[in-house]
């Protein structure tokens, strides 16, 4: 069975949102105290994730999404450039 554009999009979304959840709610809140046993430089790891790391990951997640979706757009809608630029108003 071949996956449609929308199905692949949903798979990408679920995967990236899982990372989004783990780096913020996971490392930053739920497991934050356990991670605090480890240190990078002067930062306790859990503290670092809650005030720095989660934000860096958020940026990364969006750019990975941009890359993957641009590829996917090209694969499924090679000639869609025109349809995007013409607005229906």
């Amino acid at each position: 069975m071949k996956l449609t554009y929308w199905q692949i999009n949903l798979i990408i979304l679920s995967f990236l949102l899982l990372i989004w959840f783990v780096v913020s709610f996971g490392f930053g809140i739920i497991w934050s105290e356990e991670l605090d046993q480890f240190k990078i430089g002067g930062f306790k790891l859990g503290f670092w994730f809650s005030q720095q790391g989660s934000i860096y990951f958020f940026v990364l997640i969006i750019f990975i999404y941009v890359l993957l979706m641009n590829k996917l757009d090209k694969k499924f809608y090679k000639n869609s450039k025109d349809s995007q630029e013409i607005d229906k108003e």
């Binding site: 990236l16 913020s24 930053g28 990078i40 430089g41 940026v59 969006i62 607005d87």
Partner: protein, 583 residues
């Protein structure tokens, strides 16, 4: 040059630039006025979004809040950035593909219902005015401290500037002024942060500096701050003091609320293509992250500097900034043990928390007298408003005057850019959604543009009144804005795109139940029974700040259940959703 002259110079130059841009980019049509003719490049839109998003609260208050909350303050950092992931992945590209002007526009069309549109308009106006009130307070503080004009005059000057470029330029004018404002505000935020980071840890990058060792010692700054905080009776700076469930819910409410804020969403309507909407959300978050990763560093530096410069210092010897902010009314000192020495520790210095000053007399040491009785349950003698941390930081660290003047210009840029974005959203929802789509469908484009300008002007006047007569409840209603955005607008947009079967009955029932549940919980604890607002009384231990997430879950459940009892949406809606799912 004196500090005041420098501040006038910096603020004057930046205001001239904003007005120049407004004249250059006047709006000609409703398309220009609402969504800048869809001609904004993703990079410029990213900067504009960042300026739009980073308000007086982000610029002035956030680092101060974190300084006092320690790790608990992380909810703002994660909450106000994580929402952009949701925006970029779940909303922005599809709403851009939909290709209309406003958020109620999408909700009204997708749920084929004027009632749904009306509910969305009500939520939007409430959220936006809540927000604007906060901006005006920020403008007032900056003007009164740095330009030494009356707060009211300051607010009126700010209003005139916003009036000029929002009413004239619409979204197009606002977008390009926001790009300029972003540059001013980020420069103003980073310069003092870098200076202070160098002074304390000799590391030029604040993001790394606050995890570094204090100059001339082998202790890490954060370890030292933990120790000092514990010694003064506070919690360790790098540990949570609130319960995990509350931290979780507040973060979630802020994230989903961010993704549902109309003035942010509408920015993604202005780019040329769907792929640009995704890219521009990424750029926006980079620009936002630059400030948001600096803020916790500023918070750490400010806290340690603050403690070092006032703790156990004689009041007569207290630094100038201490007395300046005392004059504005944002610091107060109550000498509980009559020793003339400032003592800072955990707890409230004054009964009733906020100081009430007695103006015709000075205290024994020349301090302003407060009529509040001292709170003898602790030994803390200082009242300090969180808001002054960023503004006072350069003074506390004894940086040159031009840095202080720069911070004043940056704070004004942050407040004005957000105010303008909000006013535009309010005016578009009134002229486009209320007038054109519900009340007077026959008006021409020219008339609609005229109504849009009138609505923007009216909104500015109301916002100005908020600034001159600040309602005492601004801080409390911020929870409201995010809670409502999370529990009403986000679910309606998300389900509208990802669940075709949702009909108008389901969507309206969901929005109304989210609205009622969230607002009654917040109203109960914040306004009706504020004395009951403690963890023991909260539902599942969730504070009013985090209740929006529970309201959102309720919205989802009720929308899905109700939807199943009524017929499917019409065929055209299915086609419309298929269409917006394509790039």
């Amino acid at each position: 040059m004196s500090l005041q002259a420098l501040t006038y110079l910096f603020v004057g130059i930046s205001f001239t630039i904003y007005i120049g841009i407004a004249i250059w980019s006047r709006a000609q049509s409703t398309n220009d006025f609402y969504i800048a003719g869809k001609g904004v490049s993703p990079l410029a839109n990213g900067m504009a979004t960042a300026a739009d998003w980073m308000s007086a609260a982000s610029f002035i208050s956030m680092a101060g809040l974190i300084a006092f909350l320690g790790k608990d303050g992380s909810v703002y950092l994660m909450g106000w950035t994580g929402g952009y992931v949701l925006l970029a992945l779940l909303l922005a590209p599809y709403l851009r593909k939909f290709g209309k002007y406003t958020v109620p526009d999408f909700i009204g069309t997708r749920y084929y219902s004027k009632a749904a549109r009306l509910v969305a308009i009500i939520c939007l106006i409430f959220i936006s005015f809540t927000y604007v009130a906060g901006q005006m307070r920020g403008v007032g503080i900056v003007f009164s401290r740095f330009l030494e004009v009356d707060i009211n005059t300051g607010v009126i000057i700010g209003m005139c500037i916003v009036f000029f470029y929002a009413v004239l330029g619409g979204m197009k004018g606002i977008t390009y002024t926001q790009v300029a404002q972003y540059c001013v505000l980020i420069f103003a935020y980073l310069v003092p942060a870098i200076f202070i980071s160098l002074m304390i840890t000799n590391n030029p990058i604040p993001q790394l500096g606050f995890g570094d060792k204090v100059i001339g010692s082998s202790t890490y700054l954060l370890d030292k701050l933990d120790q000092v905080s514990i010694d003064l009776g506070f919690n360790a700076y790098t540990e949570y003091s609130k319960s995990s469930i509350d931290i979780f819910f507040i973060t979630a409410a802020l994230m989903f609320g961010t993704a549902g804020l109309p003035h942010v969403i509408v920015r993604f309507f202005t780019v040329p293509k769907v792929s640009d909407a995704r890219k521009s959300a990424g750029y926006a978050l980079v620009f936002i992250a630059l400030l948001y990763t600096t803020a916790p560093a500023v918070a750490t530096f400010a806290k340690i500097n603050f403690i070092n410069s006032v703790q156990e210092v004689e009041y007569k010897q207290a630094p100038n900034w201490f007395k300046n902010w005392e004059d504005i009314g944002l610091i107060a000192w109550k000498d509980k043990n009559n020793d003339g020495i400032i003592n800072y520790s955990k707890g409230n210095a004054l009964e009733g928390v906020k100081p009430k000053y007695l103006d015709d007399k000075e205290g024994d040491y020349g301090e302003r007298i407060t009529t509040n009785s001292p709170d003898f349950s602790n030994s803390n003698e200082i009242y300090i408003d969180n808001d002054i941390m960023v503004l006072a930081n350069p003074e506390i660290a004894q940086l040159p005057n031009w840095v202080i003047a720069l911070v004043a210009a940056g704070a004004l840029a942050a407040a004005l850019s957000t105010a303008a974005g909000l006013l535009l959203v309010i005016s578009a929802s009134i002229s486009h959604d209320l007038m054109k789509k519900i009340l007077m469908p026959k008006i021409t484009e020219k008339q609609e543009l005229f109504f849009a300008r009138c609505a923007a002007a009216a909104a500015i006047i109301i916002a100005g009144l908020f600034g001159i007569y600040p309602p005492g409840f601004v801080a409390q209603v911020v929870a409201f804005a995010f809670g409502l955005a999370a529990s009403t607008i986000f679910p309606a947009l998300f389900l509208g795109i990802f669940y075709k079967r949702l009909n108008k009955e389901g969507a309206i029932a969901g929005m109304i139940s989210g609205l009622i549940a969230t607002s009654s919980y917040i109203t109960y604890f914040k306004f009706i029974n504020p004395q009951l607002n403690v963890a023991e009384n909260w539902l599942f231990g969730i504070s009013p700040e985090g209740i929006g997430f529970l309201g959102m879950i309720m919205n989802f459940v009720i929308a899905l259940i109700v939807s199943n009892f009524y017929s499917k949406p019409p065929k055209e809606i299915y086609q419309m959703i298929d269409e917006i799912r394509k790039p």
